[in-house]
C-alpha cells in the first residue's frame, strides 16, 4: 500500500524540523553567553537539510546532513567592569542573532505543523479506505 510511506516521509520531516527547533533553542539559550578564558565564544549553529530518496521516485524524505557553525564574527561589547573583559575592556560574546533565530523558530514550527497535518490526512484517508465496501 503506497500511502503508508507518507508516514515515513512526513515522519522524517517532523524529526528534521524538531532537530532544527532544538538547534534554535540552543542558539537562543546561548545568545548572551560570554567567551571563556580561551576567547572562543559560542557560535550560532545551523542545520543543513538534505533529501533522502525512500524507495521510489515518488517519495522523498528529508534528513539533517550536518550542523554547521556560523562564520560571523563574535560580538564584542565594551564593558570594562566585566570580570571577563580583556585588556582593552571588551567582552567577547556569542555571534547569535536573536531576531534571526526567532524567525527560524517560527519557520520550523510551521513546517512541523504542516507535516503533522499531512500525516493526519493520510491516516484519515487510510482509515476510510479500510472501510471500503461496508
Amino acid at each position: 500500500m503506497s500511502m503508508f510511506s507518507i508516514f515515513n516521509v512526513s515522519g522524517s520531516a517532523i524529526s528534521s524540523q524538531s532537530q532544527r527547533l532544538n538547534v534554535v533553542a540552543s542558539n537562543l539559550a546561548n545568545a548572551d553567553a560570554v567567551a571563556g578564558p580561551d576567547g572562543q565564544g559560542y557560535k550560532a549553529r545551523q542545520v543543513i537539510f538534505e533529501t533522502v530518496p525512500m524507495g521510489t521516485e515518488a517519495s522523498a524524505g528529508v534528513r539533517v546532513s550536518a550542523i554547521k557553525e556560523s562564520n560571523e564574527p563574535l560580538k564584542r561589547v565594551h564593558n570594562p567592569g566585566h570580570p571577563s573583559a580583556d585588556a582593552d575592556g571588551y567582552v567577547t560574546q556569542s555571534n547569535v542573532n536573536p531576531v534571526e533565530e526567532m524567525v527560524n523558530m517560527i519557520s520550523a514550527s510551521r513546517s512541523y505543523q504542516n507535516n503533522v497535518e499531512v500525516m493526519n490526512t493520510a491516516k484519515t484517508l487510510l482509515l476510510k479506505t479500510l472501510q471500503m465496501g461496508q
Binding site: 537539510f49 538534505e50 521516485e57 507535516n115 499531512v118 471500503m132
Partner: protein, 154 residues
C-alpha cells in the same frame, strides 16, 4: 459477464491508485519545503489516467489468450491449461513498475536556495487531492453496494 460487472470498479480502482500516488508525491514536496536545491514533483492526473486505461485494454487482450500449454504455469495469467479461465488480475494495478510518470511543479517564486516548492500551492493541492481521493472511495462504495444489492436481489 463478471468483467462487465467489475469494469466500473476497475476504472475507479485505477483512479484511486493514482490519487494515492499523487498524495505521496505532494507529501514529499511538503516534507522537503526547507531543503536547499529540492525540485518539486507532481503527477498530471489526466495523463496518468489515460496511460493507465490505455495499457489496461491491451493487457486484457493478452490475458485472454491461452498459455503455451506445456504445463509450465505462465506468469502473466496463472493458467496451465488452454481451458483454464485466465485470472483477471489487472484490477487495482497500474502499468509500469515505477507508477505514473512524474512531472515538475512550475516555479512561481524562485528561492535563493534553489528550492522550487510553493508551500501554499502544495497545501491546496494536498487538500484537493484528499477530497478527490475520498470521492473516488465513495464511488467505489456505491458501485459495490449496487452490485451487492443486485446479487442479493432484495
Amino acid at each position: 459477464m463478471f468483467a462487465n460487472l467489475t469494469n466500473g470498479l476497475d476504472f475507479q480502482a485505477k483512479a484511486l491508485l493514482i490519487r494515492a500516488e499523487r498524495q505521496r508525491v505532494i507529501a514529499s514536496n511538503i516534507a522537503n519545503v526547507d531543503t536547499p536545491g529540492y525540485v518539486g514533483r507532481d503527477i498530471n492526473f489526466k495523463d496518468a489516467m489515460n496511460e493507465a486505461l490505455g495499457t489496461s485494454t491491451s493487457l486484457s487482450v493478452s490475458l485472454s489468450q491461452p498459455s503455451s500449454g506445456n504445463g509450465i504455469p505462465s506468469a502473466s495469467n496463472g493458467t496451465t491449461n488452454a481451458r483454464h479461465i485466465p485470472l483477471q488480475s489487472q484490477l487495482g494495478t497500474l502499468p509500469g513498475d515505477g507508477g505514473p510518470a512524474l512531472g515538475y511543479t512550475p516555479v512561481t517564486q524562485p528561492a535563493m536556495d534553489g528550492n522550487s516548492v510553493d508551500i501554499d500551492r502544495e497545501r491546496a493541492n494536498f487538500v484537493d487531492n484528499s477530497v478527490r481521493y475520498e470521492s473516488t472511495l465513495r464511488f467505489i462504495n456505491g458501485t459495490s453496494k449496487t452490485i451487492l444489492s443486485a446479487i442479493q436481489g432484495q
